[in-house]
Amino acid sequence: MKKLTNSVSRRTVLKVGGVSAMVLAAPGLSRAQAPTVKIGLLQPMTGGFAGDGDLARIGAEYAIKEINDAGGIKSLGGAKLELLIGDSRSNAEAGAQATEQLKADGAAIVVGGFASGISMTATQAAARYELPFIIDCAVSDALMTRNLKNVFRFNPSFSMAADVALKNLVTINDASGKAAKTVAIVHEDGLLGSGLAKLMQARLPALGFEVVEAISHPTPARDMSNVVLRLRSLQPDLIIPSHYFNEFVLFARTLQQQRVKPKGGIYALFGGAASSYRFVKEFPEAAEGVMDVNHWGDPKNPTNDKLMQAVQAAGKFYAYNAPINYSVVKVAAQALEFAKSAESGAIIEALQKNEFDSGVMPYGKSKFDATGQNVNALPLNTQVQGGQIKVIYPEQFAQAKPKFPANG
C-alpha cells in the first residue's frame, strides 16, 4: 500500500507540478519530528469507478494537508496524519482485501467505501479487527442493519435521501402551482435504480402525482431510443431517472435528439451525471434545467470553492466525491482528537458519543445514532442553470431559485 500511496503522489506531481510536490512531501518530512497517525482511504483507484476514486483522493489529501498545516492532532501531541490509500479495484472482494491491507499497514481508522457492495465486504473485513470505518457515500439501507459497532455512515442513506427528494419535489411543485401531475420513472435495473423505482411508485401517488410508467433498462445500455419513444407516447409532465453516468448521458442525449421535453423537466435522485461538471461541460444543452438530489458540498462554505479549484487544477471535473471525502477525513480527525488515542476502541467510542463539524457538507453537526448512521446527513437539490450546477433547495444553502417547470 505504501507503494501505491507513493506512486499515486508521483503521478499527481507529474500532473500538477512542483508546488504540490512540496505539499505532498510535507507529511513525509514531518514524520521525523512528530508521531503520525495513519488514516486509510478505501477507494476504487482502478476499475470501472476509478474516476470517482481519484476525486475522493484529491478531497482527502486536501483535508490531510489542512489538518497537518494547522498542527495535526493536538490531543495526541500534534501528531501528523498520514493518508494510506487502499485500492478496492471497483469490486467487492478486492475491497475486503484492500481493507485487510490497510489494517496490516497500520491504519487507525478507515474512511471511504464508495459503492454499496464494496462497502458491505470492506466493513465486514474491518469488523474482524473492530477497526473503525466511516462510509463516505454508499447509500444502501442494508449497510447499517448489521449491528457492526465499528461501522459509521457519514452520508444520508437511500431512504433518507428519498424522503428529502420527495418532500422537496412537493414543495417546488406546489410553488409552481402544481405544474407537474404525471411522472414517468426511468431507471437502471441494478441496486440503485430498482430501489428508487419501487419507492417512488409506492410514495408518489399519495403526494398527488400519477406514475404513468416505470421503465427499466440494463447497464450498460446500448440504446435509449425505445425508452424515449415510450416517453414520447406517454407525455409525462416530469421524468424521474436513476442511472449511472454513461446511461444518463445516453438518455439525456436521446431525449434532446428526439425532441422530448417534459414540461416539468428531469428530476433525478442520485442521478450520476446531473451532478457532474463533465456532463454539463460536454453537453450543455442536454444538461440545462436538469434537477438532481445528491451528495453536494455547501456552496456557501468558502473551502468548497477551494476544493473545486484544486480539482480543476488537477485537470478533473468536479463531483461530490471530493467534498464528501474531504469532510469525512475531517470527521475522522475530530474523532482522533476526542479519543486522545489511536486505539480502535477509543475512536469508536468517540464517534458514538460526540458531535462533529461536517467539513464542507451541509450536515450541520454530524451525529451518529445507535446503528452508526449520521442522523443529520442531508442531500441537496441542484439544478443545471446557465451551464453551472446550482444549489436550488433547501433555501439556506440555495444559490439560485428553482426554475420549475423547467420547460414551462
Binding site: N91, Q97, A104, G117, M120, Q124, R128, D189, L191, G193
Partner: protein
C-alpha cells in the same frame, strides 16, 4: 510413481499452508490464501469437464452462482443450517449442470458452440437473479454474521482456511480417483476423439452428463464457500463472467486435465496479481494485462499449463539421464 509424488507434494504444500496459518499469518495473507483456495476449488470443478473432458465451458458462473444463492436463500429466508445449505447448494448446482448438459449434449454441441451456450445460460441466470425478488433483486443478499462451526463462519479465519484446505485436498483426491477410473479413461478418450470413442462403444452422452454434473457440483461448492467468507452476494458477483474466466484461467494456466493444474494456477495467478499490483504504480488494469499475456503465452508455449511444462522438463532430464 510420478503421479504419486505429485499428489504427496500437493498435500504437503497444503499442509505447510495450514501449519503456517495456525502458527499465525497476517490478516491480509490469510485473506489472500482463502481466496486462492476458493478459486482453486472452482477451477478444480472446471477442470473435470474442461480439462479431462475437453469441453471448455465459458459459463461456470452458472454453477458457482447457483451454489452461492441456494445456501444464502436457505439460510436467510428459511433459517436453515449453513452446512445443510451447503449440501443443498451443491445438489442444486449439480442439477443446473445436468440440465445445461442435457440440453447441449443432446444437441451435440461442442467446441465454440458449447462455450457460447454455457456463456448464454450464465447470462440468463444473471439477468434473472438481478430482477427476481427472492434473490434479493439487484440489492443482493447478506448472510447475517454468526460465528461458530454450525454457521460455517469463524471469528478466527484460520479455521475457515483449514476447512477450505480440506475441500481442496478432497478435490485432489477426487481427481486422482478420476485419473485411475474407467470413467476418467472414457472422458479422456472422448476429449481426444469422440467419434472414435463412440465407435468403440463408449456411451459418450452418459459420460459427458456425468462429467458436467460432477464439475458443476464442485464449482457450486466453491460458490457456497465464497458466500460463507464474504457474507454478501449479488447477481454480478454470483453469476458474473469474472468467475467463469477465473476458473478457466486458473485451470488452463496451471495445467488443464492435470490433477495439480487448478491449484498451481490459482496460487500463481492470484499471487502474481498481488505482486503486479504493487509494481503497477497505481495504473489501472496492469495486473490484468499481465494475466492476459500469461494466458496467451501458456497457450503458445505450454499447452499443458505450468504443470505440463515443468513435467516435460523433468521428464526430459530424467530420460536423458537414463539413456546415458
Amino acid at each position: 510413481m510420478k503421479k504419486n509424488f505429485e499428489f504427496i507434494a500437493a498435500l504437503a504444500f497444503l499442509g505447510v499452508v495450514g501449519i503456517a496459518a495456525i502458527a499465525g499469518l497476517p490478516g491480509n495473507i490469510l485473506n489472500l490464501l482463502i481466496f486462492m483456495m476458493i478459486i482453486a476449488l472452482t477451477a478444480q470443478g472446471w477442470n473435470v469437464l474442461g480439462g479431462y473432458g475437453g469441453l471448455s465451458s465459458f459459463g461456470h458462473a452458472a454453477f458457482f452462482g447457483t451454489g452461492a444463492y441456494t445456501t444464502t436463500i436457505l439460510q436467510t429466508s428459511f433459517g436453515i443450517n449453513a452446512w445443510v445449505g451447503l449440501v443443498c447448494g451443491v445438489i442444486l448446482g449439480a442439477a443446473v449442470g445436468a440440465m445445461i448438459g442435457f440440453l447441449s449434449f443432446r444437441a451435440g454441441l461442442k467446441g465454440s458452440y458449447f462455450a457460447l451456450i454455457t456463456l448464454a445460460f450464465a447470462e440468463v441466470l444473471r439477468i434473472l437473479a438481478n430482477s427476481w425478488d427472492f434473490t434479493g433483486g439487484a440489492a443482493g443478499m447478506m448472510v447475517s454474521i454468526n460465528n461458530g462451526f454450525a454457521y460455517l463462519q469463524f471469528s478466527d479465519r484460520r479455521w475457515f482456511l483449514l476447512i477450505l484446505i480440506g475441500f481442496v485436498a478432497g478435490g485432489l483426491l477426487l481427481t486422482r480417483w478420476l485419473e485411475r477410473s474407467a470413467f476418467g479413461a472414457y472422458l479422456i478418450a472422448l476429449r481426444e476423439n469422440d467419434q472414435a470413442a463412440q465407435a468403440l462403444g463408449v456411451d459418450i452422452f452418459k459420460i459427458k452428463m456425468q462429467a458436467i454434473t460432477l464439475s458443476a457440483a464442485i464449482t457450486a461448492l466453491a460458490g457456497c464457500l465464497y458466500v460463507q467468507n464474504f457474507l454478501f452476494i449479488d447477481a454480478n458477483v454470483a453469476y458474473g463472467s469474472w468467475i467463469s474466466i477465473e476458473a478457466l484461467f486458473a485451470a488452463i494456466v496451471g495445467g488443464a486435465g492435470t490433477m495439480l493444474g487448478p491449484l498451481i494456477g490459482s496460487v500463481l495467478l492470484l499471487g502474481l496479481g498481488e505482486i503486479t499490483k504493487s509494481f503497477s504504480g497505481g495504473i489501472a488494469g496492469v495486473d490484468l494485462v499481465v494475466f492476459g499475456i500469461i494466458l496467451i503465452l501458456c497457450v503458445a508455449f505450454a499447452p499443458n499449463g505450468i504443470r505440463g511444462f515443468v513435467a516435460d522438463l523433468w521428464y526430459r532430464r530424467k530420460s536423458r539421464g537414463k539413456a546415458m
